[in-house]
Amino acid sequence: MKPGMNFKKLLKRIAQLVNEYRDAGLLRQSDLFDKEWYRERNPDVPEGAEIRHFLRFGGREGRAPSEKFDAAGYLKANKDVAYRGLNPLVHYLKWGKEEGRKVAVARPPMRVPLSEKRRSAPAIDLSRYSRNGTLLVTEQEIRDLELLHETDLFDAEWYLENYPHLKNQDPYLHFLRHGGFEGLKASENFDCEWYCDIYPDVVLHGVHPLLHYLKHGMKEGRFKGMPPKIASVVKRTVADLMTLDPEIESCHPLHGKHLRLRPNFSIPTDELGAAWTEIFHDLPAGIRHVVFMPWLVKGGADLAGVNILRAAQEAVGVSATLLVLTDHDKVDAFDWLPSGSQVLVLSDYDADLNQQNRQRIVEALIFALQPESITNVNSLACWAALVEKGKAFQSICKVYTTLFCRDFTEDGRGAGYADTHLRAAIHNVDKIYFDTNVFLEEVVARYGFTPALTQKLQFLPQPALDDLREIAKKAQADEQRPAIFWAGRFCHQKNTELLGRIIRSLPEVALDVYGGGEPQREAELAALAETQPKLRLLGMFASFSKLPLERYAAFLFTSRFEGMPTVLINAAAAGVPIIASNVGGVCELVTNETGWLIDALDDERAYCAAIQEILDNPEEVQRRLQAMRKKLGIERSWSAFKAGLPFSSMSSSEAEHV
């Protein structure tokens, strides 16, 4: 210790004592301080120490010095006094009175009849805080007491053992109202004096140190100090080694009464550590393939993910696969999953996990599970992990990913993993599956992929669903179907405004429209339906296969841009004639041999001509449907899909048909 520092401290202490002496005199002369009254209401204050206690602790804690002065109210009304950590009564007597600041009489704490219902049942036994059926604590105090009961940083037994003069008091209430503010230790693991010394803002704002840590400090990354036993080993190590290396001696945080050091306790206690630990203890053993998806909603990419999971399950067994939903908690399409599928939803463990922590969990899953292979189907967390650590993952497992056509933002800008992540990740990926050749070729051309890199890209047509084939059989047996239908989201991409022009051109043709979306488009279509009796708006649909497909003569598809829309594959599988705009990969399914492909995307006359032909020429319809069935059988069968994936090479002792 430097001599200069000792002297400074001594001077400071003397000044404090002198001030305290003067302030005590002020209180003695004032009828606003009532010694007996104070002691009676504060049984933790020893007899004879009332003034000292009020000056050192009670005032700042908001304890009333008499029934004539509401200290808590004064601090609340005069933020400057509270902020500077001044004693409220001393301030009033010295300056506040002259400044015209108001005082109120002290009120006992709000007492609530026990029978009065709280918003939720308290997690503590309130009977210990009540007398004659009346609660002696406020609602806020009940919430704070619940916190103290919950946390292991407050140890009531330890508290009473170490502060034996409090043995007749409730340790929780004493610590809440007084002990914390007086700098007492909450347990071996939390020292209020240390916390206040390190974080003077807590003192300035008059906040209870442990409650501050629990409510705010922890989230803000503040330290809670270190147990005395650890602190003593640290101090001994520093003392032993500072003579060997002067840099240790000059490292200020290692010295002084309170070690100003960030302690790191091996096992992380942050939100990532907590979520991961819980996840780890839920992980099944023997996982061989993991599919990462952002969520599971009723979309085309989600169906592709489910198909990949199902293919992996057929190869290695359901129990050897794991589906991880990384980015969101949406699971609307959970019923799409094969029975027994194991699904880990990261948001189930902490809905507030940030994107970086979600990525870290993806990395930890691969590191801990060591699967033979993984497939990323649009998971942002997994894409980010592949960019940063994909090379390392390849030492653990085969890495596959999918790519679907880019999305477009409201203002028309393209956005997709092909643009943002593909080029950085491709070196760390074994295979990338595209659902359309058109997009695959576009990516190769746009980014100038070399033949070696292009080898990693594979076209994998999504299969048609078996249950829709049954509809096709039924439809064949039915009579002629006079109406056509449109199904999708009402948005710019789907070009709903074209529907109005088509229905006006063919007012005699019935058009059923399923779906919903942007309110303005909904309103426009509703207005149109009032003037066009053949247009019916039939609302949202749960799934394409649930629509009465057999009723319709054709499916009308008008999108401005797409990849390979699942809805078209479904319509084709259901044996419905298709009239479709020639966008994205649509031409890989719908041609003028298998349906009606419209090149003039926004020209209603082309769509009307196709509708007219379908209604007038049933032989041609049957010819094209037959061609579509053949194409589906070759290109989009389940066996063709499975053959395109690498799972068949994974031997299995428990493979099963899913």
Partner: protein
């Protein structure tokens, strides 16, 4: 039969003027160990060391009665430790990086603990005092403490590399290869996992501490910025195999 109770292995590279305090701390440890009746040797593994480091080591080790300074050309701290372990003549080996310091009771306390336990132990100090840039304290966790959980070893390394271990066990379970180009790094983290899988127990020696110098540029930071992970280990799969399903498991199963 080993010639010494403990071999102190100091890994030198380009520590220069920081080597002297490290060797001084070894000397202080040897003094305490000698008072406890232990015999010790010093082996300084100079892996692609610079001239200044070589000169400082040469000047600082003369006082040690049993010392070898071994030039190496691995460029890999794990390999250097493995080679040093092969050459060591102590029953136990203890590692020290050339810019860090041991507390004086480290070797004697660790030896007392290891020799009193029949199990294969990998011993660590209770605390590590990080000084210099960003000073902090790293408190090691004992694998037999109630708070221990293997799970987060998939996120972070629980123990530093400055461990105390039986030499033969280390020779049988050497540090794994690192390959920064393949994003495989953290030889100490990987080895900590590997020895757990081999059945060793990581324990802390109560009351002991190391001082670790924090530098703005360190191997750990370089490894981290290269996006590395530790070499994979099967320890997690072993734990999962014996793990019962939690009653309040949040894993969803499709029906």
């Amino acid at each position: 039969m080993s010639k010494f109770h403990v071999t102190a292995i100091v890994n030198g590279h380009k520590e220069g003027l920081w080597l002297k305090p490290a060797l001084d701390s070894v000397w202080a440890c040897f003094e305490v160990a000698r008072e406890q009746g232990l015999t010790t040797e010093l082996l300084v593994a100079m892996d692609r060391a610079d001239a200044l480091s070589v000169e400082i080591v040469s000047d600082s080790v003369a006082r040690f009665p049993h010392v070898r300074v071994v030039p190496m050309n691995h460029g890999d701290v794990g390999h250097a430790r493995n080679q040093a372990a092969l050459m060591a003549e102590g029953e136990y080996v203890a590692f020290l990086d050339g810019d860090d310091l041991w507390g004086p009771t480290w070797l004697s306390d660790a030896y007392a603990m290891a020799s009193a336990d029949e199990r294969e132990l990998v011993l660590h100090p209770e605390v590590n005092v990080y000084f210099g840039h960003d000073p902090h304290v790293f408190v090691h966790i004992d694998a037999e403490s109630k708070n221990f959980d293997t799970a987060a070893l998939a996120l972070v390394n629980y123990w530093t590399s400055l461990c105390f271990v039986r030499r033969e066990f280390l020779v049988e379970n050497p540090y794994p290869e690192t390959d920064l180009a393949a994003q495989i790094g953290y030889e100490d983290w990987a080895w900590n996992l590997k020895v757990m899988s081999a059945g060793a127990v990581h324990k802390c020696v109560p009351g002991t501490g190391h001082a670790i110098r924090m530098k703005r540029i360190s191997l750990v930071r370089q490894t981290s910025s290269a996006g590395c992970i530790a070499a994979p280990s099967d320890i997690f799969k072993k734990v999962l195999k014996n793990q019962a399903r939690r009653p309040d498991s949040k894993l969803r199963i499709a029906v």
